[in-house]
């Protein structure tokens, strides 16, 4: 695999909710190589403001069509600028970056929270034809725009919301033990808030199930040079989230 720097064409940039967009770009050389769990590093505006690129996990790929999708929440200056991308615009993209998920197991469970669910979408596709189980948590039904996107790529979806407006009332962690047991899960993949991932890793470890976690951190270069995003590993050394990760074995980065 070779990391690329390229000009990609925006195909569409659609609203999924009032604050979440799905951006599809034509980037054939990146799409041909990218693996689930990897990310692209996007320059959201020409010039020096904002200066740095923004990393986004890859939510979908159509290698034959040469397209790649990222799903992003509009939270700050950079993503607000991205929300104004129009079909036909050219954007500057680096990718595919980082180490993705390792595909394994016969009965995988994908546990996601918030925007961390995005990379699990591509992962679910890649894990087919295995029966893929998905467990996702969010605050309210409004944040749970994901289930239709997963409909054709998984066996079953389990949902928890804090207010009970969709699925079970509670958190994804509350539902985890029974989902693990009932579906005879043999590998767990998780991406989302750190507290959730630590809980997932702990539950998986207790049942002896291997667990891969996808970490997130502020980063500048995206290729392991600036060391903005490094984290402590369990063995006392450091890991670069951008280039050693973002996907790690749970025991590698969670104490």
């Amino acid at each position: 695999m070779r990391k690329l720097l390229m000009q990609a064409t925006v195909l569409d940039n659609m609203r999924l909710t009032p604050t979440v967009n799905t951006l599809r770009i034509l980037a054939p050389e990146i799409a041909a190589q990218a693996l689930p769990g990897q990310f692209v590093h996007i320059k959201v505006a020409a010039g020096i403001q904002p200066l740095l690129r923004r990393p986004f996990s890859i939510a979908d790929i159509h290698a034959e069509q040469g397209t790649l999708t990222v799903i992003y929440r509009i939270v700050g200056e950079g993503t607000a600028l991205m929300s104004s991308f129009s079909p036909g615009d050219t954007i500057d993209v680096m990718g595919p970056l980082g180490q993705g998920f390792r595909l394994m197991g016969e009965r995988p469970l994908l546990v996601g929270g918030g925007m961390g669910i995005a990379p699990l979408l591509l992962l679910a596709k890649a894990l087919c034809p295995r029966p893929v189980y998905v467990l996702m948590g969010g605050r309210t039904q409004e944040e749970m725009f994901w289930p239709p996107l997963f409909q054709n790529v998984c066996e079953s979806i389990h949902i928890a919301t804090d207010d009970g407006s969709l699925g079970r009332c509670g958190t994804a962690l509350d539902m985890l033990p029974e989902v693990l047991e009932q579906n005879k899960i043999d590998v767990v993949y998780t991406c989302g808030p750190r507290v959730m991932m630590e809980g997932v890793a702990k539950a998986a470890a207790e049942m002896g199930i291997p667990c891969q976690v996808s970490l997130e951190e502020h980063m500048a270069c995206g290729v392991g040079a600036c060391l903005s995003c490094t984290c402590a590993a369990s063995d006392g050394t450091r890991r670069k989230i951008c280039s050693d990760g973002p996907v790690f074995w749970a025991e590698e980065v969670f104490l």
Partner: protein
Amino acid sequence: MSKGENSQLCTEFAGIRMKNPIMTASGTFGFGLEYKDFIDLNELGAVVVKGTTLKPRPGNTGCRIAETPAGMLNSIGLENPGVDHFKDVILPQLAPYDVPIIVNLAGNTADEYGELARRLDIPGVAAIEVNISCPNVKQGGIAFGTDCASATGVVEMVKRNTGKPVIVKLSPNVTDIVMMARAVEDAGADAISLINTLLGMAIDIRSWRPVLGNTVGGLSGPAVKPVAVRMVWQVAKAVKVPVIGMGGIQSAADAIEFLLAGASAVAVGTGNFVDPRISVRIAEGISDYLTERGLTHVSELIGRVNDYC
């Protein structure tokens, strides 16, 4: 001419032969290898590697980076694998490249700087850059770069322990940059590089906490460029040794400003994060500029800024 060579740009800097006067600044280009998919390292003037210390350093905890207007703050804290790992694992991987490797080194004491210089007085290392300007570590770093006597002590110690050209990287966080530059020149520096980052701070107005785990950090990027150009201009006039100018370079035009101010070479830092191919683009842009102006060599720009009237 070998690959990447251009007769307008080839430069000899402090005894180091370079294909062009564009280097990558320490801490912004890893060990060079991180960027090899994007850029042919052989096309660079030199690679200045990440600040290296005697023992491995984990760096600072908490958030290490904050984007600011036309720039960024960092407080990495000199995370690096240590000099032995650099010598044994990384340097051999750089051996196939035909590009000078300059090693930036940082110590807690003058003796440590001397020991680092001694261990790096080996084939494959083109020069030493003495980092007396890191704002993100408690000991060493900037403490040596804001006091003339301490800086002199470090530079003399390094010079005693190496036969390589010694470049001293200055901090802009001083009242009188010229005084610091003269002190390190008198101590034996073969060249001076400036500027390291400007000490800065950002506050999160939701949490009322600093954005950076280290509270303060170093500001880099286009926001610092005018400060850097001014300091390069002041220093280049005041010393006889050559100067490497850096601070916010994002384009050939930016690099040309530094050359006109008196820099004999330039380094690109934060710009690498934005565009991994920026150094090559800048070299090409300078070459085009020279051709347009009817100039034959980049040296015709160095220090040629005129008085305003």
